[in-house]
């Protein structure tokens, strides 16, 4: 499966990744060869096979809807790039 430049630009946007202009040809080449590799899967008929998400077929555990964690906002926000009054700061979103 060969990708072109615009595919790579679109994927990078979906993944919210800034890619340097000069690196796009290299990404295009490498992503195409990875997709060639994975396309080997298409040769196998899996129409009767149930997809497997967990090897032991475990399912998500549920728990009672009660508060179990104490408030440790200050500690968790101590590693944030920018915080004010307990809020994460980002560039202005709404005019």
């Amino acid at each position: 499966m060969a990708l072109d430049r615009s595919d790579v630009e679109k994927i990078a946007h979906l993944a919210r990744l800034q890619i340097d202009e000069q690196d796009i040809p290299e990404y295009t080449k490498n992503l195409s060869s990875i997709l060639d590799l994975v396309d080997q899967m298409q040769a196998v008929d899996t129409s009767d096979v149930e997809p497997m998400a967990n090897a032991l077929d475990a399912v998500q555990r549920l728990r009672a809807d009660v508060v179990t964690e104490e408030n440790n906002r200050d500690k968790l926000q101590s590693v944030a790039p920018a915080v004010e009054n307990g809020l994460f700061q980002v560039p202005k979103v709404i005019e």
Binding site: I11, L17, S33, I34, Q40, P51, A55, S78
Partner: protein, 483 residues
């Protein structure tokens, strides 16, 4: 002292031959003097280590020592450690001081272990050579022009260079077993769900599993005794009793049925690797085992399926790194989209960006059935191959890797060539079963690894089978020249 196993060091501490403070200081001095050659640590935590060692010595003096009290180990820098930088070898987390501990770290702390530091790795555990680390590659102690393997390459190099008696690792597609093989140590990937993933920075959540990297199978059993167990904080942790993994080590192997999958001995396998592995199988026959050929017919599909599942889960997991809540933030973002894109574009390295993009593509609108669903179907076929084979035999054996350690830079320009190095390890992560790699020979002065695979929760059996080989042979005692 530096060639001693955890079991021997535990005995030394118990006998009073040395204290944990003395042992820890000796290791810290050695790391300080020698690690410039190997770059196996990202962060050395000397002060905290000595505090933990002092506390361990006090625990022992009070008569409350357990099997692990005072033993120094290193943690892969993917495990969150409270108050200590947890970088995942990424610029993205270069400034991240974790506010909490991984469950595995808490368990070692509760057992009285001493953390020497955090080991080098491929960035976000994505790689088979350690070369994607933001901090530069770790080097193979057998030949510092060669890679230690990856992603847990720093842990493997540290143990092989005797800069830690043991270390933790994580394995998503071979990241414990492959570096263990390339550095001549013992590495165990447990059954998926056996060891808690809480606080272990997620790469591919349905495949990631933590495990021990040690000199011997006996040490791996000691480590797993601490690491294994149910954890409410990990939604895929299995509620399954934890046996004493050291209890069965001495069981004789008479009657053991070994399966050799023909797909693990392909025509293009390095002849030197094939020969060393065959010699190891002969050793097992001498120990009373019988051998038969089995088949894992879907082996060739494992790498294609993995390179959809792992990147897809990675693209989802790594969306949390957005420059807002923690980690790297770009300078002067003009708006929110610019903040996201530049923080991620500048914070992640090339291989990580490549895999995020593969995952974003596979999960994008219209492609789900052709890629992710297809890969999950193939995953079931691969699991079924192993289930069928293990109905006929007790364990499966083969080479851990198709080649010995390759040269730094040899495969960096061709990601697909790098991915093929995991051909024998990757299918086991898809199946969720446990596997161990032990040193079983050498070629041109480089270690060769034997992989032993067992059924779900058969870790005790694998450790027994590995230990008996190590009682009968001394490949695990070989050390690189100059160490």
């Amino acid at each position: 002292m530096f060639d001693k196993t955890l079991a021997e060091l535990a005995q030394g501490l118990e006998n009073g031959d040395f204290s944990s403070v003395e042992l820890t200081q000796a290791y810290l001095d050695r790391i300080n003097a020698e690690d410039g050659k190997y770059n196996s640590y990202i962060t050395v935590t000397g002060e905290q280590a000595l505090d933990q060692a002092k506390a361990a010595d006090e625990t022992r003096a009070a008569g409350n020592a357990g099997a692990f009290t005072g033993l120094p180990i290193a943690h892969k820098d993917i495990f969150c450690t409270e108050g200590v930088r947890t970088s995942c070898a990424s610029k993205m987390l270069d400034n991240f001081i974790s506010p909490y501990n991984a469950t595995v770290v808490n368990k070692f702390n509760a057992a009285g272990a001493v953390m020497l530091g955090k080991t080098n790795m491929d960035e976000f555990a994505m790689g088979s050579s350690n070369e994607s680390s933001f901090y530069g590659p770790s080097k193979n102690p057998w030949d510092t022009d060669r890679v230690p393997g990856g992603s847990s390459g720093g842990s493997a190099a540290a143990v092989a260079a005797q800069l830690a008696p043991a270390a933790t690792g994580t394995d998503t597609g071979g990241s414990i077993r492959q570096p263990a093989a390339l550095c001549g140590i013992t590495g165990l990937k447990p059954t998926y769900g056996r060891v808690s993933r809480f606080g272990m920075i997620a790469f591919a959540s349905s495949l990631d599993q933590g495990g021990p990297m040690t000199r011997t199978a006996e040490d791996a059993a000691m480590m797993l005794n601490v690491m294994a167990g149910f954890d409410l904080n990990d939604s895929t942790s299995m509620q399954q009793d934890v046996p004493d993994y050291t209890a069965d080590l001495s069981k004789p192997l008479a009657g053991l049925k070994i399966g050799l999958p023909k797909e693990f001995f392909p025509a293009d396998l390095s002849p030197a690797i094939a020969e060393q592995v065959q010699n190891a199988i002969k050793e097992y026959e001498a120990l009373g085992a019988t051998v038969k050929e089995v088949s894992l017919p879907n082996t060739a599909l494992a790498i294609p399926a993995y390179y959809i599942i792992a990147p897809s889960e990675a693209s989802s997991n790594l969306s949390r790194f957005d420059g807002v809540r923690y980690g790297y933030r770009c300078e002067s973002p003009v708006d929110l989209e610019d903040l996201y894109k530049r923080s991620r574009g500048e914070g992640f390295g090339t291989e990580v960006k490549r895999r995020i993009m593969v995952g974003a593509y596979a999960l994008s609108e219209g492609f789900y059935d052709a890629y992710y669903k297809k890969a999950q179907q193939i995953r079931r076929l691969i699991k079924q191959d192993y289930v069928n084979a293990l109905n006929e035999v007790d364990v499966i054996m083969g080479p851990t890797t198709p080649h010995p350690a390759f040269k730094l830079g040899e495969k960096t320009s061709d990601p697909v060539a790098m991915y093929m190095e995991d051909i024998f390890t990757i299918s086991l992560n898809l199946a969720g079963m446990p596997g161990i790699s032990i040193p079983c020979g050498q070629t041109e002065g480089l270690p060769v690894g034997l992989q032993i695979i067992g059924n779900y929760f058969a870790e005790a059996k694998l450790l027994n089978v590995a230990h008996q080989f190590q009682v009968a042979t001394d490949w695990h005692k070989k050390t690189p020249q100059g160490i």
